[in-house]
Amino acid sequence: MKVKVMKFGGTSVASSEARAECGKRVISAKEQGYRPVAVVSAIGRKGAPYATDSLIKLLTDIDATVDPDARELDLMIACGEILSASIFAHTLKTMGHSSMSFRGGQAGIRTDGVYGNARIKDIDPRAVLKALNANCIPVICGFQGTYQTPDKLPGAELTTLGRGGSDTTAAAIGAALKPYADEVIVEIFTDVDGVKTADPDCVKNAPTLRKVTYDEVAEIAHLGAKVVHPRAAEIAMQFDIPLWVKNTFSDDVGTEIVPVERFPGRRVTGVTHTGKLVYLQFDLTSAPEADRAFLESTLFGLMAQNSLNLYMLILSPSGTGFAVPRAQFPIVMGILNGLVIPTGSGTLYLLQVGNEASREVETQAALMRPLGMTRRITAELTEGCSMVSLVGHEYMQQPGVYLDVLEALYKAQIPVLQTCDSEYSLSCLVPESEANRAVRELHDRFDLAKTV
């Protein structure tokens, strides 16, 4: 049995015409001798009636001041994929092919119990195999699974897989079917021709890469390329499954993702950008050496305690710093601005976020004045930042790459607030308003328009 798992994203299933196009691709795979398995996302993108954000709004509209529980959110947003799968299965039936839709749990996908960001633990593919053996096309809801609670209550809990969940579903289903098939291919259908050297909204002439390694695609996906999720690439790599990214609406051959043994990778793969971040730099020069470690530990401890995600860390003799997602910034502000940190030395430190003291900070300062031994720590605040990354293949270790990046951005008068790098990438934190221009500058500097 040859199996082709075909994942269709939100735009690919957004209208009856688009779904018919997807249906033709599924039927074509069947005619070529494959047993197709479809995995679908929720219908449409942001704002569409059954898209994830619209479903969440049904809950938040009840009372905007009360956050819905993660469990309820999962149950609600999973409806988007359930609708989509049922509609697509019926579409296939109207096109003359037997089809059955499956919720994630019905397809045997078992996850851990983290609502909203669950990870797949195992898959029991018997129901999917039964459908395939009956010459029926399974249509599986992407992005979801079930969690069996320790007390084994009936029905299990519905969980969602977080960002890129439908890609992850497709790769995992491919891996689960591999022991029963002679060949398994996973195809991710989207609205662009494949993996590109940059976001085409940003760089119009960004070429499509015909072949990339799993490592390359995982790196660019982690750093912002939205075309395939890194978890999917990692599963495909682990189980050695051929992975393709294709355009639902064009006949372009797409991008093949292969192991490094089949393709050596290229000097620079692409330029990505991601994130709406806020950057904070804490000036600890007012603190004597004896208090420094305690202050740093307190800052990181508070971030850990409040489950905040940190990026672009720095620790230097003058202080420490990090970026946080903009969505988490109000929490950071609430914790840190006006925070009083007493130390063993008897000094009280008052934390001020931003160059101008808020009323809270001034009130605290006035209350602390009679106590003496108070010092103020200011965190320089840069709101509206993005991370722009150059992704390559060990080339990043060569002397001169960092210079080329800095020089290109300096000449374009784009400020670089912070950097971080690995064997495969070099990321710069830049003002969000300059992120697209930074991507274009680096794309030009490294001549990526000529990449194939």
Binding site: A175, S297, F300, L310, L313, I314, P317, S318, L403, D421
Partner: protein
């Protein structure tokens, strides 16, 4: 046939590794036009064929790592530039590996806190999507790795 297949990597820190053989440079005292000064410095280092890693920008300069074998050459370059600098060597990098570490709520901060609370003098830190890096004197590296492993294992058991 076993019909269950193990899939994604588990959450949290999956491994801790150590890389030896680095020197850490810290440059400071730069004035207002830091971007130009940064470029001039990086150009001089590049011209000397020295590979810089894990560059961090500070409010008055920058910090980075070079292979320890190139620390003398770096010293020569920085002497010529006339900057205020220090080079600390030998240094080692302790790397905590965790898939999607930046999406694992609070994990990066937990690693940093564990290192600082352990009494280690962390010279330099960095992060990528799958790892957090801490640079310490080579003599402390093994201890730091063991400490992070123990602390995070305990934290995982607690949660």
């Amino acid at each position: 046939m076993d019909q269950h297949t193990k899939f994604e990597k588990p959450r949290g820190v999956s491994a801790i590794s150590i890389r030896h053989g680095y020197a850490q440079a810290h440059l400071s005292g730069w004035g207002k036009d830091r971007a130009a000064k940064r470029l001039e410095t990086v150009r001089a280092i590049t011209d000397a064929k020295i590979s810089v890693d894990f560059v961090k920008l500070t409010p008055s300069g920058m910090s980075f790592l070079v292979p320890d074998a190139q620390s003398e050459a770096l010293q020569g370059v920085l002497d010529r530039l006339g900057d205020h600098f220090s080079i600390r060597r030998p240094c080692s990098m302790v790397i905590a590996h965790a898939v999607n570490i930046r999406d694992e709520e609070g994990l990066v901060a937990r690693i940093m806190k564990a290192a600082i609370d352990g009494g280690f003098l962390v010279q330099h830190i960095s992060d990528m999507h799958d790892r957090a890096l801490l640079v310490v004197d080579t003599a402390e590296a093994e201890q730091l790795a063991a400490h992070i492993e123990a602390e995070l294992r305990e934290a995982t058991h607690e949660s």
